[in-house]
Symmetry: C2
Subunit: 317 residues, 2 copies
């Protein structure tokens, strides 16, 4: 039985795990990324994390069939090339070749959001489906699309940038330099901004009691206040979910996955989020009276999805 190594490369940590070919995470290690260091030093530590992970494996049951890496940025998987990362300042880096020289393993690259989606489809919340779109609601909005249990990422890996589908023409500024992107309305960052605006407009809202100060608002704050019945928080969430539903409708109308997986901290709200969101989303899915909108589920693998999916990138080669 083959085993695979997966690395989820983040701006903060290099998270590396040994994964069975059924998607079971056997063991994992984490090293600091040190994102400001030289590229070569970071790559050497990625290779070191592989050695450390294998050293703590309970058994060396079968050969290591490959090393997969989820990269926070755009990747040309066929060329083994990182095109661009946001946190690491890497451009056109032949990462697959560099890691292969370090480890001797065949190396497969993917975008980190694509890897998380693959992990959820092969071993998590969507394991009964062949095709799924995963949307991660975090600092930004990340997306991955799995089609026939394989990553679809568009020409040279430049697709499934779900956070940057249109939402509001001429709307809120987005981190990408554009205006009105989905991410600018549906990320955790956007929810925090929307919550703060509501607090400023409503000094009597319970929101002010749920957090100590307006600077302390996080994406859980409006949910906490709403669960205590605060009408301002309820209105914030209703509007937020409407934006989210509008964007998810766009994903459905274009990609039409079998299932939609929500990830990121906000998805921990579970049915409190999903039940109203399903109802709203149905309005925005084309011909929903004839073609049922895809089911909406929460991710279940948490941060391990990225390691598991990265490891299993090699399954398809």
């Amino acid at each position: 039985m083959a085993q695979y190594i997966g690395i989820d490369l983040g701006g903060t940590n290099i998270a590396t795990g040994l994964v069975s070919d059924t998607g079971r995470l056997i063991c994992k290690v984490s090293l600091p990324t040190g994102a400001n260091r030289d590229t070569e030093a970071i790559v050497a530590d990625m290779a070191r994390s592989v050695t450390l992970c294998l050293a703590q494996a309970p058994s060396t049951d079968g050969p290591i069939a490959g090393l997969g890496v989820g990269v926070p940025g755009a990747v040309d998987a066929a060329a083994g090339m990182v095109l661009r990362t946001t946190n690491l300042n890497w451009h056109h880096l032949p990462l697959a070749q560099m890691l292969q020289e370090h480890t001797g393993l065949p190396v497969f690259l993917g975008n980190d959001a694509d890897c998380a989606a693959l992990g959820e489809v092969l071993a998590g919340s969507a394991s009964s489906y062949d095709s799924a779109a995963m949307i991660t609601l975090g600092t930004g909005v990340g997306g991955g699309f799995i089609c026939n249990k394989q990553v679809f990422s568009g020409w040279t890996g430049g697709g499934t940038e779900v956070g940057h589908i249109p939402m509001v023409f001429g709307g809120e500024p987005c981190g990408c330099g554009n205006r009105g992107c989905f991410e600018a309305y549906a990320s955790a960052t956007a929810l925090i901004r929307q919550t703060r605006q509501a607090m400023e407009a409503h000094p009597d809202s319970l929101l002010w009691q749920v957090c100590t100060a307006i600077e302390a608002v996080n994406a859980k704050t409006p949910f906490d206040a709403a669960q205590q019945g605060d009408p301002v928080a309820l209105a914030v969430l209703d509007q937020y979910m409407e934006y989210l539903a509008f964007g998810l409708g766009g994903v459905v109308n274009l990609l039409r996955p079998q299932v939609i997986i929500l990830g990121g901290g906000i998805s921990n709200q579970g049915e409190y989020l999903l039940t109203p969101l399903r109802k709203k989303m149905s309005k925005y899915c084309y011909a929903s009276e004839f073609i049922a909108p895809p089911p909406l589920v929460s991710a279940t693998l948490g941060n391990d999805a990225g390691i598991i999916g990265a490891a299993l990138l090699g399954l398809n080669f």
Copy 2:
């Protein structure tokens, strides 16, 4: 050398052609659809059009390998089922089986916009590419996505509804029942509406001289006035192209095709449309400074694209 029959089924005409396996249209016939008739009568005429087309073929050079049909609606290709059409009031119709009983040929179904895209990729404007998104700007906005020279249409064929990606949250009403869809801003219908609004606001515009009355405005009107230097028409087109670019950016960011093909009457404006549109689109494509936006071309096969693409659906089976 195998030959294929393609039917482009419209609300008005049944257009049927004999096509070589290289995508050359050998001959074609057209029968009125008579959309108000019984389903069985329309299907019988589709079969009759095949017989008529073969009768006028210059030679019966090799066997007929298959019959493909482009349907104006949602299709479950694997099941040979029409899920829903807008103009024919067909729901869950086993069209492939019905036509196979009539003709004895293997029958393949596709959505009409998907077929047009496939025709352009296999034999038209995008024949040097493997992956392409085609956007047709007509009464509505249609879309087709070809990936590895095959139709991608999402789960049960319910995807690539490009006209119904989000554009303006809470915006203009759309024919689908939703608000703010791409189609409500970028279709020929939308351009006509935008032109009329500008005429009402500007009684001195040259637009009033280019057409005889406000009811006579068509999608060519603003182009005609703009080419005579009318500032109102220029502003209408600038705004229209900005909407179009915003939506095309969404298509790129999600699907990242190798090339984008524009079809429909508006695309006949050629470089007068494409040159400014490329510049605007670049703003809305994610990370365009690192990943070049796909080239933008006009469709070249016109109405034949649908017949050719439908015929060649059978190539992949």
